[in-house]
């Protein structure tokens, strides 16, 4: 038993971590996507892909419990999110970390305060321990020493990393990323991809990423779902690399080859 956490992940991998069953997403009468059925396994780096405006971010918002589905359900380890009592839902949401597209750091707080807030709310740690944890989380994303900066005083890439540190504050089981590499230079985007893989391996977390950056999709993803804006449903799922090699759907081929095929 050299490695308890790893073994535990090993034992559970392959189990459905999140399962989406017959889900329809809509804003009022406006249908976004219908008949979504897919499974995210424990330890997956799961990519939600598709062209602009197909509802990728909306799907992410449904997965993290910000919107109830218009039909169907989302199951976390077998229990349906919206059938849980509100306090059980809160407990479940606390086990998720979300990195929003623009970072969504609270601008009136320093980076340290941003990360400390969930720790102060949900743990009974002493203030010194909270401070140590905050420094450690910032060090994890390469921002050691930036505790007292406000989000407006650091660059966009640094804001994203700080937001990632906040998302990881409570050691979540599942991390959700909305367009993590949007607005980053290629080197930073690549470093973020490496960090995502490293975090999955080290934390044993399940990671769900919304992106249309092909380089990222192939570098980090081992499972995916492809949403189509035209037919308003998913048209493909599985390992992106396998999809590139085997898929015969022209829309998927066109997307994965940057329009060169399909």
């Amino acid at each position: 038993m050299a490695d308890a956490a790893q073994v535990e992940i090993g034992n559970r991998s392959g189990l459905a971590h999140i399962e989406v069953r017959g889900m329809t997403m809509a804003y009022g009468d406006f249908l976004i996507q219908k008949d979504l059925n897919f499974t995210i396994n424990r330890g997956d780096i799961f990519i939600i892909m598709g062209g602009s405006g197909c509802g990728k971010s909306t799907l992410l918002r449904h997965l993290v419990g910000l919107h109830p589905p218009a039909a169907g359900e989302v199951l976390y380890q077998g229990s349906s999110f919206w059938q849980l009592a509100p306090n059980e839902r809160n407990v479940l949401m606390r086990r998720m970390g979300v990195l929003y597209q623009g970072g969504a750091l609270w601008t009136s707080m320093t980076l340290a305060e941003n990360i400390a807030l969930p720790l102060e709310e949900y743990t009974s740690l002493m203030p010194t321990e909270v401070n140590e944890l905050v420094s450690y989380k910032l060090a994890l994303v390469g921002l050691k020493g930036f505790e007292d900066y406000y989000p407006s005083e650091i660059s966009g890439g640094m804001q994203k990393r700080a937001a990632l540190a906040r998302a990881m504050a409570l050691d979540p089981e599942t991390l959700f990323f909305d367009e993590p590499s949007a607005g980053l230079d290629p080197v930073s985007a690549r470093l973020l991809d490496d960090l995502i893989i490293e975090l999955r391996d080290s934390l044993g977390a399940t990671i769900v990423i919304v992106t249309h950056e092909l380089a990222s999709i192939f570098a980090v993803g081992n499972n995916s779902v492809f949403l189509d804006a035209e037919s308003k449903t998913m048209i493909s799922e599985g390992d992106p690399k396998r999809l590139l090699a085997e898929s015969d759907n022209p829309i998927v081929r066109k997307f994965l080859t940057r329009g060169e095929e399909g």
Partner: protein
């Protein structure tokens, strides 16, 4: 020496073996750093290396990493090499991530206490800067008005109409209700005093003059500072956060012409009209109290009011309200444009716009009252 979560063993080859066991999670009780350090330093000589055994380690999270990060720094300070191989792979990976990027030199902030003279100087310079900003803004606004009348200022008339609607018709209900009630309260308070002399008919004079010369203009201005001035500050502040104002500037469109001018013009046109509306409803409030409680007939009350108020009185109120409109709209726009680039700054801009506007309204009201009094108007 023994602890549930950690055991230190000194081996014969002058190395130290740290065995981790049990749960190391944020909610668990584990050995504190102080007691670890005390145990570790019981050994008189500095060990040659530190090894880890983690076969009995169960669940772990950031708690373990906190310990390892501290141990890493401690071992480095004492020049003891650490062999991390005995740790779980995940922990090794996280530790590498956490120690990989060195702290950027000069990044960390130090709080410095400044002398009283320094702080006083900074405060005074801040005040000067604030006044310069105000004067510059006022000057730019006047230039913009000049451009408007020579047809060189460009804004969208659609926006202007929207502002007219919001600052005019949209404000009728709230201004109306408050004026009616204040008129009634004024009549009530006055009546109690005047009845003692049998002079209750003069309630009409009191309410009429009070509302038309002072209260109408002032109440409307304060309501509009809360309703419209703060909205201007919030709108422009949010545009500042979203870099929308920078986008206008880079396209060569003056934010002063495009954003400030239509807003201020709308309020300058509408506030005097709202003031008249407030005057009328204030008098109506007084009339309701007078007729229903004080046994004054409708005709008597109206006749008395008509004799009490002259056109000059109404004009006095209107002139005040015109200046109030400038004050309210400019402080809203100024604070909005000065806003910082975050959500708290927008809140501060709104508060500051309200405070500036109300302060200037009251100062200006006092000044004009004295001036009109001196001039015998």
């Amino acid at each position: 020496m023994q602890s549930k979560s950690l055991t230190i063993s000194y081996l014969t080859d002058n190395s130290v073996e740290i065995s981790l066991s049990g749960d190391w999670c944020l909610t668990c009780e584990v050995v504190t750093w102080q007691s670890f350090q005390a145990q570790f330093e019981q050994y008189p000589e500095s060990p040659e290396k530190i090894d880890f055994v983690s076969s009995d380690l169960e669940n772990w999270d950031s708690k373990l990493l906190l310990f390892l990060v501290k141990l890493d720094a401690y071992a480095q300070s004492r020049h003891i090499p650490v062999n991390w191989d005995g740790l779980p792979d995940g922990a090794k990976g996280l530790l590498r991530l956490a120690t990989e990027v060195p702290e950027r030199s000069g990044a960390r902030r130090r709080t410095r206490t400044r002398s009283l003279v320094y702080r006083l100087g900074t405060w005074a310079m801040g005040g000067v800067e604030e006044l310069t900003g105000l004067a510059t803004f006022l000057g730019e606004w006047l230039l913009s008005i000049g451009r408007f009348f020579t047809g060189r200022a460009s804004f969208r008339w659609v926006d202007f109409n929207r502002f007219l609607q919001a600052a005019g018709a949209g404000a009728l209900p709230i201004v109306g209700v408050i004026s009616l009630l204040v008129g009634a309260v004024l009549a009530f308070v006055g009546a109690v005093q005047l009845q003692m002399f049998g002079a209750q008919i003069y309630v009409a004079d009191l309410v009429g003059l009070g509302v038309v010369r002072e209260m109408g203009a002032m109440m409307t201005a304060i309501i509009m500072a809360g309703r419209t001035g703060s909205a201007y500050a919030a709108q422009l502040g949010t545009m500042q956060v979203n870099e929308e104002i920078d986008a206008l500037r880079t396209m060569g469109i003056s934010p002063m012409d495009f954003l400030v001018l239509p807003r201020t013009l709308a309020l300058i046109l509408m506030l005097p009209l709202l003031c008249l509306w407030s005057d009328a409803l204030g008098i109506l409030g007084g009339l309701l109290v007078g007729v229903s409680i004080l046994d004054i007939t409708l005709l008597e009350y109206l006749q008395q009011t008509k004799e009490a108020i002259t056109l000059t009185d109404i004009a006095t109120g209107l002139i005040k309200s015109l200046i109030f409109a400038v004050v309210v709209s400019l402080s809203g726009c100024l604070r909005g444009l000065q806003s910082g680039r975050n959500s708290a700054a927008v809140g501060n801009a709104t508060t500051s716009a309200m405070v500036t506007a109300i302060l200037l309204i009251v100062i200006w009201d006092a000044l004009t009252t004295i001036i009109f009094n001196r001039l015998g108007i």
